[in-house]
Symmetry: C2
Subunit: 452 residues, 2 copies
């Protein structure tokens, strides 16, 4: 990809446009968009180059490449487009891509886009923009093929041929009656049927659809489960208002997963990629949780304050604090990570609460036994057969592992129950909570064993 | 889903098979498979029920449902199938699903499957089984539609109609010559073209394909980038050997992501879901890393051992250890998580090493300034205007944040460079490393500030 970019960059600088043209004609739109994005990131100075490169692209590839570019690049290009060029690009674009673009642009650019859209497009764009950002409505497209139940197979083929060019997918067609969705039929079904079969006789009437206001994360899971190419989106009266295609579902899955990764590492999620996010935005996204966790650590600090007499008597106790805390944090995050992922994949539900807690309890018994024995032995051998110390450490590990796994298992499910995002109940928060519990237990066991 | 299962369970127990039949005819294969899996998980005793339920399914849905079931359920059913039933299911199944099944079954069941396959199927199965588990070859299917370059559009349609029923996708067709892949054409392209156009004139010759031995994770990223329905798989001589369809790519993406989540929480990844993994397997998958990290914590412990005089002089120093350690761990895991995810999504490469490190350095400067000021003030006000303590804490936080972000940024990229999985360089390992560094710095700053 870098090679391609450098080659194009060099040829453009030398004004060898004909050669550029023959190179870009060979490339896929997604790859071309990557070249644009890379050129844009590296050459903030010479911005006219992009316009020349864009005008060199064959018409049909230009709109597709445009759809694959990042927001900054697209905003820059729109600024340089003539109204005629903007209209051409919008004509060739799918409505859902235009909506995605509009959501990220400043108002003056948006109004220019709307001014250059047809009345129908404008109506459709406004309709999709009305849906909340996390809803299915916001990611759907209205460009699907609809058929009538009384059509024959050959009439259906004729319609697909006529309207199909501008539809995002033609492979699943939707049968509607008074705007209500009454059937679904795939092009494969049409191929298998006889030419004079009626659509109503061969269409699938057991339809799996999704509501416009359904959370888009649910739609991602439905695609994973059913392997559909597209899923119909209906309003509360079962009227067909749009479809979601598998590529948009894949994008949703990727976004949601990246969001989970961020939240689980105590970062406020950003919609931009790592490099496209500025350092101040990065810092802001990280400071919030760090501050919250740092202030929460005051509790651990106050707990420890109470036991100065304990580690004044046995200074070695301090040396084992990091190990006890880390083991607790790691055990808790193992459990919480598996539960959070299970919830995201719709494999674990709140109704499984006691099943999960009991399972984690049994696992923690096995884990803590092994860790306690290994560590007790290690301490016993390392610290001149100090049996009391070994006992303190082993007992503390047993308590810490069990408690941390219980907390790690319960918190994400409880969060889900009260409609918080389970992903925030991950390592950082659990570590902080587990620290308090484990140090409290540790010092009390020590006081008891050493009779301080 | 639970309701459906309970309803079917009840009707089966009351032997009201006719009613069951009319219910299952309404359902999607993926939902039916979920019912089978749930019934299987809850009723280990009455296993004949499943066979009755399975025999009630309409023939065409039976094979699809079978493909969606989990391995245990399928193994159980195969054990009860007659040879004739097994043959029917295999006939209706796609080769790649059969291969997935075979990979998880014991040898005696596999040989029974191979015995009931046709010679052609057996050859194809063996061919796919030859590829390494992580390669593209292992997830491809050989059931695609191939066309000849001299065909006309209407001849192509005729061929698709004839062979399409048994192909996993018909919407992208592949043009081969002497088994070499020379073009790709979609059904949409065929619809748009004239009936007497020649395939060679309208096919796409700029083909994006993937090598049989390419890592399947790469294929997942290609689907994300290009939005293809299917991707052709070629051998080293550019001969077409199979295709990967988008649903298999989605499965790969999900598996790889779940694997990353597990590794990042110090768990050896399991291919089974949370509930299907037994407690001993769960415990085994967690103990290994916990032990490694616990033993590594010995270093932190030995470092702390050296500073008993410091916290004997200022016992309050101990109380702030958890906060310093946790802040370091959280900062490091923020950076490492973003980098690991960026690498997985192919957005961050080793060539970006210095760019990333410099970016993280600048972010850490902002983050540590804010945290140091807030925390210094807090300590100053909480501990009776103890300026020395406040200074020690603030300076330690500055050093800890910068170092932990540097470590968190560098380790995943270095891991990628030496072909280790970046995901193992996550929170748990980084916490352990950061602990050593931060406590060492903390105690030394304390000794310096308090002149101990």
């Amino acid at each position: 990809m870098k090679d391609l970019m450098n080659e194009i960059d060099r040829l453009l600088k030398e004004k060898r446009y004909f050669e550029v043209k023959s190179i870009v004609a060979q490339e896929n739109a997604a790859d071309l968009a990557a070249v644009f994005d890379d050129l844009f990131a590296e050459n903030f100075e010479e911005k006219t180059e992009f316009m020349i490169l864009f005008r060199i692209l064959p018409k049909d590839i230009a709109a597709e490449t445009f759809a694959h570019m990042n927001t900054d690049m697209r905003r820059h290009l729109i600024g340089m487009f003539t109204d005629k060029e903007l209209r051409e690009i919008l004509d060739e674009s799918f409505i859902d891509d235009t909506v995605d673009l509009i959501e990220d642009l400043p108002a003056n650019v948006v109004s220019r886009i709307l001014k250059n859209s047809t009345t129908g497009e404008r109506k459709a764009i406004n309709e999709i923009l009305r849906y909340p950002r996390d809803s299915t409505g916001s990611i759907m497209t209205i460009e699907y093929v609809s058929l009538h139940k009384d059509m024959t197979v050959s009439e259906a083929f004729e319609k697909i041929r006529k309207v199909g060019v501008n539809k995002e997918t033609i492979y699943t067609c939707y049968v509607t009656e008074n705007r209500k969705l009454i059937g679904v039929i795939t092009v494969k079904d049409l191929f298998i049927a006889e030419e004079d079969n009626k659509i109503s006789d061969i269409m699938e009437t057991n339809i799996i659809s999704v509501d416009t206001h359904e959370d888009k994360e649910v739609v991602g899971n439905m695609f994973r489960k059913y392997n559909f190419l597209a899923l119909p989106v209906v309003d509360k009266d079962n009227r067909l208002v749009g479809i979601v295609t598998f590529d948009d579902a894949m994008d949703v899955i990727q976004e949601e997963t990246t969001e989970d990764f961020s939240k689980m590492a105590a970062i406020s999620p950003s919609e931009e990629s790592y490099f496209r996010t500025g350092i101040f935005k990065h810092a802001r996204g990280r400071i919030v949780w760090l501050l919250i966790l740092m202030i929460s650590a005051t509790v651990t600090q106050l707990i420890t304050d109470n036991y100065t007499s304990a580690f004044a008597a046995v200074p070695l106790l301090v040396s084992f604090m990091p190990m006890i805390m880390d083991t607790g944090g790691n055990c808790g995050s193992q459990s919480s990570t598996l539960i959070i992922r299970g919830i995201a994949l719709d494999e674990i539900h709140f109704s499984d609460f006691f099943k999960v807690v009991f399972k984690e309890f049994r696992i923690s018994i096995i884990v803590c036994s092994v860790l306690a024995v290994v560590n007790g032995l290690r301490v016993y051998l390392m610290y001149e057969h100090n049996l009391l110390l070994a006992m303190t450490i082993s007992l503390s590990i047993i308590a810490t592992v069990i408690i941390s796994k219980m907390i790690g298992a319960m918190l994400p499910m409880l969060a889900k129950k009260v409609r918080l995002d389970p992903a925030t109940m991950a390592t950082p928060l659990i570590t902080t909570i587990v620290d308090c519990c484990s140090l409290f237990i540790y010092f009390n066991i020590a006081i008891f064993v050493f009779k301080i």
